[in-house]
Amino acid sequence: MNYKNSISIALLLAACLLQGNVKAQLMSKAVKGTFALTHATIHTITKGDIQDGTVVIQDGKIQAVGAGIATPAGAQVIDCTGKEIYPGLIDAGTHLGLSEVSSVSLTEDYNEIGDLIPEMQALTAVNPNSAAIPVTRVNGVTTVLTMPSGGRFPGTAALIDLNGYTPDQMYAGFKVVVLNWPSSGGFGRFDRRSPEDRKKAEEKALKDLNAYWDQAKEFAALDAAAKKSGQPRKTDYNPAMEALMPVVNGEASLLIEVNKDKDILSALRWIKEKKAKAILGGVSEGWRVADSIAAAGIPVLVGPVIDLPTRPSDRYDAPYANPGKLKAAGVKIAIRTMQTENVRNLPYHAGFAAAYGLGKEEALKAVTIYPAEIFGVADQLGSIEKGKRADLIVTDGDPFETKTNIEKVFIQGWEVPMDSRHIQLYNEFLDRQPGLKK
C-alpha cells in the first residue's frame, strides 16, 4: 500500500467515525477477535456471581471466566468497571425474521397453506436482514426460537442467534416440529359456533391427529424395515412423513402449542399414550393445571407474560402470575414473548413474571439456562462458562429493569454494533437539520 492510499484510507476512516452516529443509514460491521472484559460483576447463572471478574472471549467461545484471570496477549481489553455481564437472553418463542410488516401478507413467512406440513422449515425463511433483528439484539436478546404457525402441523421451528448474514450462520443448533393442539375453546370474536359444534370439531381434530400420527408410525416402520434389509425404501416422496419420523420415533422433540386448561390435560394424556418427547408452548391457563403438568414432567415455554387474561372472569394478573405458579408447582419453564418486532421486550416479560411471584433469580434462569436446557443446547448456551459460545451482554444494571442500558452485545464471539433503525432515526431526528426554517 502506498503512502497516498493509506492517507486517504485514514481520512475515510476518520470521516466514518465522525459521521457514524449522524448519518449511519447502514449498519456498521460486527467485529470478531479476542476480547477481555475486565473488572465486571459476572452473573454466570449456573456458578454464582463473580465480583471484579474477567471474561475472555476467543474464537467465538468463552475461553476463560473468573476473578484474577490473566488477559491473553493481543486481546482487546474492555474495562467493565461498574458494569455487569449476563449471558445473552433467549426468547423461547417468536416469529422474528419470519415477518417484516404484519399487515402486508407478502412479508409474512410463518403461515404456509396446508394443515399437515411439518416439513416447512422456519429456518429457510428467516430473513437475516430483517430490520427487527438489530432492534432486538441491542436490548440484550441474542437468541430466539422462531416459529411457524397456522394449521395442525404448521412446520418446524428453529433456534437462531441474532447475528449473521445467512440462516446457516444464525442457526443455533435446535429445531422442533410444532403441533397446534386441537382446541375445545373459542377462537376469538369470529368464532360463533355452538358448544356442541366446538366439541364435535375438537373430537374430529383429535381423531384426525391420531390417524396422522399412526400413518407416520407406519412410515417410520417401513423406513426401519428398509434400513434393516439394506434395500431402498419403497415409498413415494413424502416430506411431511420424513419430518415426523424422528418425532414419532421419540428421537426428536415435539412442541405442542396449547392454552386452555382442559386442552392441556388432554395433551398431557396424549403425550403419555404416544410416549412423545414433548415440550408445551403458550400454556396461558397452565396455572389452573400446574400440578398435572409438573407430575407429567413436561417442560413449558410460557408466554407472552404481559398479556390479557384468557377469560373475563379471571383475575387481572393471571398471565403475569402464570410463570411463578408453574414454577412453584415444579414445572420447568422458559419465558417467551411470541412477538416479532417487539421481541426486544423479553426482559420486561421476565421482569413482570419476577414481580408477580417468580422472583428475579428464577426469571433470569427462565430466559437463559432453562430454555438452553429445554432445547438441548445447554452445553453451548444459557450461562457464562468456559467453553460455551460467547453470547453475552454487558449492562449498567439489572437487565430486566426498564431504564437499564445494554452497552455491549456479543453473539458467537462477535461484538455486534449497538445500532438499529430506531437508534438511527433518533440520531437523525432528535435535533433535525434543517429545523423549522427552510
Binding site: 410488516v101 399487515s103 404481559i306 398479556d307 390479557l308 379471571d314 394478573d317 430486566f400 431504564k403 433518533y426
Partner: protein, 450 residues
C-alpha cells in the same frame, strides 16, 4: 291509578338514575413517597382527600374524625394514570358506514360492566378517553370517562364537564375501509385531505345559513329555519373550537397535511394520536401547538409504521411537544407506568418527564389539567399507590382511588370481578388476537355482512 303509580315509579327511577352523583370519599394516605409530578417528589408525606378533593399534601397530617387512613409506608403515591386513547368501557368502536360520521357519539354506547375497566384500575389507570375507532376520516365524538367500576349506570363513568372531543383518522385505516373496501373516496392520502376539506367547507356553509337565520328571525317572524344536521352541527363546533380533534395518524406527510387544513379553517386545537412519525416533524408540531399521544414502542405492524422509532416520545418531548403515552389496548392500559418507563430506556427522560407522559400531559390533551393529572391541593382525589417505584419493571399497583373512593385494592381483589354474570354467556376461553382496537368491528362490517 295503577298506571299512574308505575309512571311515577318509572319517572322517579329515571331521575334518580340520571341525577345520582357518583360517590365521593375521604381518605388519608399516610407516609408514602408522594410523586406529585408537577411539584416534585415528597418523601414520608401524606395526602388528605376530603369529599373527593385533595385537601392537603404534606407531612404529619392527622386524619379528620371518621376518615379512613391508608398506610403507605414504603409505597409510592402518584396521580391516577390517564390514558388519552382507549376503547374500553364501550359497546362498539366503529360506525364504519361513511367516511364522515361526526353525528355519532361514543357516549351513547358506554358499557359500565366491561371488566377491562377493572383491569385498567388494577394497573393504576383512573381516567381514559373512550374513543371512536379509526375506520372513518372524521369519526364519532368521544367520551372522557373515570373508571368508577361497580355500577351498572353508564352515567357513573362520565367525567362530567370534560371538554368535547372527536376522532379523526388519516392514512391506511380509512383508505382500506372506504377506498379499498367500498370503492369510494378516500383510497389515497389525497382523498383523505379532500374528505376533511369538503366536510369543513360544508360546515362553514351550514353555520352561515344558521347565523343568517338567527339574525333574520329577530325581525322576521316568518323566517324558516335551515334543516338541522347533527353531523354538520358537530363539524361547525370543531371550527368554532368547541370540540377538540384527536386524530389517528402515522406518517409525517399526513400530519403536516392536517395542520395545514386546520390553519386554513382556523382550527387551533389538535391532538395527534399514535403519530408514529411525529418525531420527523416535531418542530412543526411544537410550532403549531399540537399535542402528540404516542405508543412507547409499537411499530412494524403495518407499512405506515415501518419507519418508526421507540425514541418518538423522547424526541417530541425534547422538541417541546406536549406528549403522552397511550394504550389503544385493553392490555397496555393496565401497564402504562411501564410503557412510560420505556422512555427512560429510549431517550433517557427523567422520572418526572416520564411520569408526565401518563398524568399531566394526557390531562392537558383532554382539557382537564385543572382537575386531574397531578397531586395538588384542590385537584380531584384520583390516586394510584404502588409497591416499588412505578417506573420500575417490578412495580405493582396496590391501590387505585377515584374521587377519594378506593376502586382497586390488591388485598381485596376478588377472583371474579364481573358486575353482571350472564348465564347465557359463561366465561369461555378467548384468545385475544386483535392488535389494533381502533379497527374493532370494521372487519365484521366489511367481510361478514356482505
Amino acid at each position: 291509578m295503577k298506571q299512574l303509580f308505575s309512571l311515577i315509579f318509572i319517572l322517579s327511577a329515571s331521575i334518580t338514575l340520571s341525577w345520582s352523583q357518583p360517590s365521593k370519599g375521604s381518605l388519608l394516605i399516610k407516609n408514602g413517597t408522594v410523586l406529585t409530578v408537577t411539584k416534585g417528589t415528597l418523601t414520608n408525606s401524606d395526602v388528605l382527600i376530603v369529599d373527593g378533593i385533595i385537601k392537603k399534601i404534606g407531612k404529619n397530617i392527622s386524619a379528620p374524625k371518621g376518615v379512613e387512613v391508608i398506610d403507605a409506608t414504603g409505597l409510592y403515591v402518584m396521580p391516577g394514570i390517564i390514558d388519552a386513547h382507549s376503547h374500553i368501557g364501550i359497546d362498539v368502536v366503529n360506525e364504519a358506514t361513511n367516511p364522515v360520521t361526526a353525528d355519532v357519539w361514543v357516549g351513547d354506547a358506554l358499557d359500565p360492566m366491561d371488566v377491562s375497566i377493572y383491569r385498567a384500575l388494577a394497573g393504576g389507570t383512573t381516567t381514559s378517553h373512550a374513543m371512536h375507532g379509526s375506520a372513518n376520516v372524521i369519526g364519532g365524538q368521544c367520551e372522557t370517562i373515570k373508571h368508577r367500576f361497580g355500577s351498572t349506570n353508564p352515567n357513573d363513568l362520565r367525567m362530567d364537564g370534560a371538554p368535547r372531543t372527536i376522532k379523526f383518522a388519516l392514512g391506511e385505516n380509512p383508505m382500506r375501509v372506504h377506498g379499498e373496501g367500498n370503492g369510494i373516496i378516500p383510497r389515497t392520502r389525497m382523498g383523505v385531505e379532500e374528505v376533511i376539506r369538503r366536510a369543513f367547507s360544508e360546515a362553514q356553509a351550514y353555520q352561515a345559513k344558521w347565523d343568517a337565520y338567527n339574525k333574520d328571525k329577530m325581525k322576521n317572524p316568518r323566517a324558516l329555519a335551515p334543516e338541522y344536521s347533527r353531523r354538520l352541527e358537530t363539524l361547525a363546533d370543531i371550527l368554532s373550537g368547541k370540540v377538540m380533534i384527536h386524530c389517528h395518524s402515522y406518517r409525517a406527510d399526513e400530519i403536516l397535511m392536517l395542520m395545514n387544513v386546520c390553519k386554513d379553517f382556523g382550527v387551533k386545537k389538535i391532538c395527534f394520536q399514535h403519530v408514529n412519525e411525529g418525531f420527523k416533524v416535531a418542530p412543526e408540531l411544537a410550532n403549531f401547538g399540537a399535542y402528540a399521544s404516542v405508543f412507547a414502542d409499537w411499530w412494524a405492524y403495518k407499512f405506515e409504521v415501518y419507519y418508526s422509532t421507540a425514541y418518538n416520545a423522547a424526541i417530541l418531548t425534547r422538541n417541546g411537544v406536549v406528549t403522552s403515552i397511550n394504550s389503544d389496548s385493553p392490555d397496555l392500559i393496565r401497564h402504562l407506568y411501564h410503557e412510560a418507563a420505556k422512555t427512560q430506556h429510549y431517550g433517557g427522560l427523567s422520572d418526572d418527564e416520564a411520569l408526565a407522559l401518563i398524568t399531566i400531559n394526557p390531562a392537558k390533551q383532554l382539557g382537564v389539567e385543572d382537575r386531574i393529572g397531578s397531586l395538588e391541593e384542590g385537584k380531584e382525589g384520583d390516586v394510584a399507590i404502588f409497591r416499588n417505584h412505578p417506573l420500575s419493571v417490578y412495580a405493582v399497583p396496590v391501590r387505585t382511588i377515584i374521587d377519594g373512593v378506593v376502586y382497586f385494592d390488591i388485598d381485596k381483589d376478588p377472583s371474579d370481578i364481573r358486575v353482571s354474570i350472564d348465564p347465557d354467556n359463561l366465561p369461555t376461553f378467548q384468545q385475544y388476537t386483535e392488535e389494533d382496537r381502533c379497527m374493532d368491528g370494521v372487519f365484521e362490517y366489511l367481510f361478514e355482512n356482505r
